[in-house]
Amino acid sequence: MGLAKGSPRTGFYICHCGTNIADTVDVDAVRRHAEELPGVVVSCDYKYMCSDPGQELIIQDIKEHRLERVVVAACSPLLHEATFRGAVERGGLNPFLFHMVNIREQDAWVHEDRAQATRKARDLIRAAIRRVAYHRPLERMRVGVNPNTLIIGGGIAGINAALNLSMAGKRVYLVEREPTIGGHMAKYDKTFPTLDCAACILTPKMSAVRDSRNIVLWTYSEVEKIDGYIGNFRVQVRRKPRYVDEETCVGCMQCVDACIYKDARFPSEFELGLKKRKPVYMPFPQAVPPVVAIDPKTCLHFKTGKCKEPCKEACARDSIRFDQREVVEEIEVGQIIVATGFQTFDPARLPQYGYGEFPNVYTSLEIERLVNASGPTGGQVLLRNGQVPQSVGILHCVGSRDENTNRWCSTVCCMTALKLAHLVKEHTGATVYSFYIDMRCTGKGYEEFYDRMMREGVQFVRGRVGEVRDWEMAPEEEGKLVLRVEDTLAGFVRRIPVDLVILAVGMEPRADAEAVQRMLHISRSNDGFFLERHPKLAPVETTTDGVYLAGCCQGPKDIPSAVAQGSAAAAHVLAMISKGHIELEPNTVAVLDDCSGCKTCIPLCPYHALTLNEESKKAQVNLALCKGCGTCAAACPSGSITQNLFEDEQIDAEIEETLAHV
C-alpha cells in the first residue's frame, strides 16, 4: 500500500447540483472528509460545478494552489467528464490528471437514506482521490475522418439526407433493401394537410438521387456487417441479384410484355397484393432506379429451367442476366445515417376488427393505393364486388394507444384518417364515419384541416370501436358490416352499419430492428424504436459516435419531421467532415519492457492490434487499431500490459479505498 510517489497536490470539488445531490447527500460532510485525505490541498463545494463559475473555481485553484490532480464529485462522467477535463486543461494541467465521481445518478438519485448515501459518497470520493494519484499525463490521438457516408434506408428521410450531403459535394452510399427507393411515402396518394400529391413531391427527389454523381445507389441490397468506429467504419453490403444488368437496363418494359406469362398473376409487393405483377416487373412506374427485377420465386426459368426465355429475346440491350450472382461489396465510410423506417401494424392481431375475415375491411395503407390514380383500381374506391360504397367507417388508433398491442400514439394516424375521409368522400360521395379516441392534430395547419373535415360533413364519433361483425339485427344492417361502438359523447352503445371499413393502422419498429441495433451497437427504447442519445438535446445522435438516426426508425413521425431529421443528420455528418479529424480517448494499452513474449494476448484482441515483434520477441501494439477495451491487460499473466486510465494500480487503489473502514 501507500503511494508510489507521495501524494500529489489534489483539488477536490463537490457539486450540489442545485438540490439534486444536496438533498440526499450531506455535501458538507463529504467535503470535510476529503479535506482530511492525504494530498488534498483544496476541498470545496459549489451549487453547480458544471456552470462557468464552477469551472472557473477549478481553473483558478490549479494556478493558485499549484494543483497536480483534480477530482470532481458530481453527476455521471458520461455526462460531464469532457466538461471538467476541459476546465482542467484550461487551468494548465493535463486533462487526464483528473477523475470524476458519480454521486448523482448512482448515489443521490437512487438512495433515500441520507446517512447511507453520504457514506457511499465518502467511499467513492476516497477511492477517486487515491486513484487519481496514479494518473499520468496523456495525449489524445487524432485520426482523420473518412468523408464518405453510408445511409441505410431510401425512404424520404434517407433520400433527403443523401441529397443534402450530395449537394455539399460529399460521397454517399445509399443502401435500400427493396428494388426501388421511395419507402412508404411512394405509396401514399395525397399528403395532409395540403393535399398535394405525394408522388409529385417525392419523385423529383428520387430522380435527383438517381442523377447525382455523388450518390452511389444500391437498391435490393442489405448492409450485412459494420466494423470500426466514427471516422473509419468498414461496411459490407450484400447486393442481391435482380437478374438484370442495372447499367444497361433502361426500364423500357419490353421484357415484361414478352414474359411467357401473358397475364400478371403474382401479388405485387408495392401494391400490397391489391394488384398482380409478372415474374419480371417494375415495382411502380416511377421506380428509381428505373430498372426491372426478376423474382426467382415465380420465374419459370428458375422454377423449372424450361422457360423459352422470351424476355431475354425481347431485350434489345441484352440486359437480362440469369447468371447474375449475389455480390458482397466492401466500403469504407466515416459516418452512418440510419433511416430504416417503420412497418405498419398488422391488424390481423386484432381479430375483432375482421381484417382478413371480411373482404371489405382494409388498412389505411391499402386505401392509399386504392384512391391513387395510378393504383390498382385507377383511383376508384370500390367494394370487392365492384360496387361503390355508400357508407364508410374509419377506425383510428388501430394498434396504437392500446395496452394489448402498442402503447404509444403513432402521431400521424389521426391526420391520415382525416385525409382518407376527405379522399374517400371525394371519390365516392359516401357517408363517412370517423371513430376516434382523441383527435390529435398538432402540426401546422392540421387543426384547420380537422375543422374543414367537420364542415365537409364527416360524421365524427368519439369512441373506440368494439368490433366489426356481419350479423344483422335490423333490416338496414342487411349485407353490411356493423360497427359496435360506445359513443362516449352521447353516452350509449351504437350499432353503425357501413359498406367499407378502414383501419388506420399505427406505426411500429421494423421486425428486424433488433438485428440492426446489434450491428450498429446502438440502443432501443422500450417501444423498440432506436434510441436517440438525448430525448431533447440530441434527438438525432445515438450512443455510438458517428451513427445518426433519421425518420421513423427513431419513432413515429410525419413527413416534414422525417425530412427535418434527415437534414439534421446530414448537418451532423458535414460538421464532422469539415472538422476533418476526431480525437480518440487515450485509453489504449501499452506493453511494458518485462513482456516475456508468451503470446497470450495476441489472439485475444478482436482488432488484431497486438502482434509479436520478431526481433525483440515481445508483444507490440498498433495504436491505430487499439480501441481500448483492456481485455489483453486483464489476461496478461505477467501484468506486462497496462491500459491508460484503467491501470492495475488505479483500479486496485479504487478497490482498496472504497472498502477501507472509516
Binding site: 458520461l78 458519480n102 437514506d113 451497437h521 450512443t543 480501441k627 477495451c629 483492456g630 491500459q643 492495475d648
Partner: protein, 171 residues
C-alpha cells in the same frame, strides 16, 4: 467485527452497457440498496479475476460484474472473455470456501435500468442472509495455521501465504 454490518458489494461495470444502465436507473429515480460501490471499466473484458479476489481480500462481501449482453459488447467479444474467466474464477472461489452467490456476473444492457435495481437489491438481500464474508479475518487465520504448519515442518521462511492465484489464462 462482531456487530452485524451491512454487506458491502463492489461492482465492476462496463461503461457501455451496465454503467449506462445504472445511470438510467438514476435518471428514472429508481431506488435500490445503497450497499454497492461501482468501479467503471471500459469493457467487462478488462476485469481481471485478480480485481475480484482483491475486492474480497479487502473486505467485500460480494462482487457484481456487469457487462453487455452476449453479442452486444462494444468491443465485439470482451464479454465472452469475461464469461470464460468468470467460470474459472467461480471454481477457484469455491475452493477458497467463498460461497456461491458472492460473486455474480450479469448481462445488463444500457436500457435495463430496472435490472440494475433488481439485481443489486437481490444481491444485497442474499448477502445479508449469508452474513459477512470477512476474508481478511479468514486469511489471517489461514496465515496463522500455515505458519504453525511451517514451523512444525521446520521449513525456512514464511511462505507467500496470502499470495492468491495465477491469473486465468485464455487460449
Amino acid at each position: 467485527m462482531s456487530e452485524a454490518r451491512e454487506p458491502r458489494i463492489v461492482g465492476f461495470f462496463c461503461s457501455w452497457c451496465t454503467y449506462t444502465a445504472a445511470d438510467l436507473a438514476g435518471v428514472s429515480r429508481m431506488k435500490y440498496a445503497p450497499n454497492i460501490r461501482v468501479i467503471r471499466v471500459m469493457c467487462s473484458g478488462r476485469i481481471d479475476p485478480q480485481f475480484v479476489l482483491k475486492a474480497f481480500a479487502c473486505g467485500a462481501d460480494g462482487v457484481l460484474i456487469g457487462g453487455c449482453h452476449p453479442g452486444d459488447c462494444h468491443y465485439i467479444e470482451g464479454n465472452y472473455k469475461c464469461l470464460r474467466r468468470f467460470r474459472l474464477l467461480t471454481r477457484l472461489l469455491r475452493d477458497l470456501g467463498i460461497e456461491e452467490g458472492r460473486c455474480r456476473l450479469e448481462w445488463i444492457s444500457a436500457a435495463e435500468g430496472d435490472k440494475v435495481r433488481t439485481v443489486v437489491n437481490d444481491m444485497a438481500a442474499r448477502l445479508r442472509a449469508l452474513g459477512p464474508l470477512d476474508a481478511p479475518g479468514r486469511f489471517r487465520d489461514w496465515g496463522k495455521d500455515l505458519e504453525e504448519l511451517e514451523h512444525a515442518m521446520a521449513g525456512e521462511g514464511p511462505g507467500e501465504s496470502s499470495r492468491a492465484i495465477e491469473p486465468a489464462r485464455n487460449e
